[in-house]
């Protein structure tokens, strides 16, 4: 695979993850269980959208076709999105949202940490900045998973159900394809499979403290980061997110 094409794909993956998750988290605005969580969720969404601007901005530059971060976010259709299936899953209840956030953060932080010491200067810069935010996100999501897992009988049951529901999506981040191979070879990004150990260790520790059980491995849901088969949810997210740009083409906002 051409290195530039692989780089573009890789940057879309990073940026689409934060874009779609940021969108999902922002759906909570004004509806959280306590005021502090309204603030924290908005803050998380804000960080993720900020990261999106950096990743997709760089993706547009690398592509060299004159597309801006906004063009990439608002004018691609679902099959051109490269986010993990995990992040497009619906919010569900607060527990499901925080479980999704924790599983994402527990992959995202080590990924960013590796990218920050990788061989691509611009990527390393973005990753270093994003890693600071991701570290905070992970602390918070881990705390909430523990608190709710080891809370009441009801909160425990809800958190276990969330983990069971989302676990099949946690193979996808660690599966390598030709884009990953090209990034690994170029020294930009780690081989995704090598990051599974650290991820499992973190998940194991948090789930132990949360008194939750990691399910037996079931059939892995994949197809998001390759764009081959997204879930039905992504189209609805884009319908909402892209509406103004699609309805009023060429307008400046």
């Amino acid at each position: 695979m051409d290195e530039n094409a692989a780089l573009f794909e890789f940057l879309l993956r990073m940026g689409d993850n934060t874009l779609i998750l940021g969108h999902r988290v922002s759906e909570w605005c004004g509806h959280a269980p306590v005021l502090e969580e309204d603030i924290a969720l908005a803050n998380t969404a804000l960080d993720l959208i900020g990261q999106t601007q950096m990743w997709l901005g760089l993706a547009g530059e690398i592509e060299g076709q004159g597309r801006s971060a906004d063009d990439l976010a608002f004018l691609r259709d679902a099959w051109d999105f490269r986010n993990l299936l995990l992040v497009e899953q619906p919010n569900g209840d607060f527990g499901q949202t925080m479980m999704r956030q924790f599983l994402f953060d527990a992959w995202h932080l080590p990924m960013l940490t590796m990218l920050a010491v990788g061989g691509h200067e611009r990527i390393a810069e973005i990753a270093a900045k994003a890693a600071k935010e991701a570290a905070y996100h992970l602390d918070r999501s881990a705390d909430l998973v523990i608190g709710l897992g080891d809370g009441t009988e009801e909160s425990h049951a809800r958190m276990q159900a969330a983990l069971d529901l989302l676990w099949p999506y946690m193979a996808e981040p660690f599966e390598a394809d030709e884009v990953d191979a090209a990034m690994t070879e170029a020294g930009v990004a780690p081989d995704p499979g090598t990051m599974r150990g650290a991820f499992m260790e973190k998940v194991g520790a948090v789930m132990d403290a949360a008194t939750l059980t990691v399910p037996e491995r079931r059939f892995a849901q994949t197809g998001g980061k390759s764009g081959v088969r997204h879930s039905e949810h992504l189209g609805h997210i884009l319908t909402q997110m892209q509406w103004l740009q699609r309805a009023y083409p060429g307008a400046a906002w």
Binding site: C29, H31, P33, L56, I146, G151, E154, Y248, A252, W253
Partner: protein
């Protein structure tokens, strides 16, 4: 202005002769511009009025997340989405400062929340209007935050210390909110014909509800007279409304938009704009729960609270387990 028609004692301002010794000393401190702090002696009416006013303001910040939250997922660019998220996050933060200020008067946030959800306490009428287009995000920032600032700037000098300090922090952020709203309006007003139409439509819908934010004329209100004597209200509603109109009309002209009031005109003699009063029967209907979005706004807040019960209970139970384990270990 996120507090409207706050009831005070309803008895009118006491003369010095009618005051007790404590009340006289208190009034002297207020008159001298001293700040009243939570542990200081204060009349019960002062405390209760402040709880109503600060509580209503806090609730307005919380309910106020909803009309703007309505557009976060549809914001047209990443930058606009980020700015709107930051703004709504600020508002939740303002709610938090204000609940904390109210707590210093001996009422808990949970109690105030219950009062909001049961309808015993109100929030600003403005948040019962729908946000229908992206230009409404501009109009809310420009007009609604603009009207809020009119009242909040003088409240930085209010007599109650914690409230005054909360207002100082809030005002810094509100002026950014108003600027971002005006910036959206400017972009729309200078944009395509469809965008300009959206901008004008937003001004048409938000103009009179914004004027209502100051509340009806309170020149003869005993509640306002008492609140002003206690310096928890600094200006009359009419003064603030006039100031808002005088400030806003030239801004609308700069945008090339038309204020939806055929009788609006500059009065050279008064040095102010003459303008039409809003339809106060609509205002009272909105306050009574019959506005376009009252039912939805309250349903959304009740659902957030009810759906969140298991989360709050779960986290409390966990904290209790941790505390017990710590005690056992010692």
């Amino acid at each position: 202005m996120y507090a409207q028609m706050v009831q005070s004692t309803g008895k009118g301002v006491k003369s010095r002769a009618e005051m007790t010794e404590d009340e006289r000393r208190f009034q002297d401190r207020v008159d001298a511009g001293e700040k009243i702090e939570p542990k200081d002696w204060m009349p019960e009416g002062y405390r209760r009025t402040l709880i109503r006013q600060i509580g209503q303001h806090a609730h307005s910040e919380i309910v106020g997340q909803l009309p703007e939250g309505n557009w976060i997922t549809r914001a047209p660019t990443l930058e606009r989405k980020a700015i709107l998220l930051a703004k709504v996050q600020d508002e939740a933060g303002h709610g938090l400062y204000l609940y904390c200020a109210a707590e210093t008067l001996g009422v808990s946030r949970d109690e105030l929340t219950e009062d909001l959800l049961s309808g015993r306490m109100k929030y600003s009428s403005i948040f019962n209007y729908p946000t229908l287009t992206w230009a409404d995000m501009g109009a809310v920032g420009w007009l609604v935050d603009g009207a809020a600032i009119m009242n909040q700037v003088p409240l930085q000098r209010t007599s109650y210390g914690p409230y005054s300090r909360a207002m100082i922090r809030i005002c810094k952020e509100e002026s950014f909110h108003q600027r971002q709203g005006y910036d959206i309006m400017l972009k729309m007003a200078r944009g395509t014909p469809a965008q300009k139409r959206m901008a004008q439509d937003a001004l048409n819908r938000f103009w009179y509800p914004s004027l209502m934010m100051f509340g009806p004329s309170d020149a003869d209100s005993v509640h306002s007279a008492q609140s002003m004597a206690w310096k928890i209200k600094i200006n009359t509603n009419d003064e603030l409304r006039q100031k808002f109109v005088d400030q806003t009309v030239p801004q609308a002209e700069f945008l090339g938009l038309t204020v939806p009031d055929p009788d609006l005109k500059w009065n050279e003699e008064r040095g102010h704009y003459d303008f039409s009063e809003p339809d106060w029967s609509e205002f009272f209907a909105v306050i009574a729960g019959e506005g376009p979005c009252n039912a939805e706004r309250m349903a959304a807040r009740r659902k957030a609270w009810d759906d969140g019960a298991w989360v709050r209970e779960g986290l409390m139970a966990h904290a209790e387990k941790k505390r017990a384990a710590k005690v056992a270990a010692e």
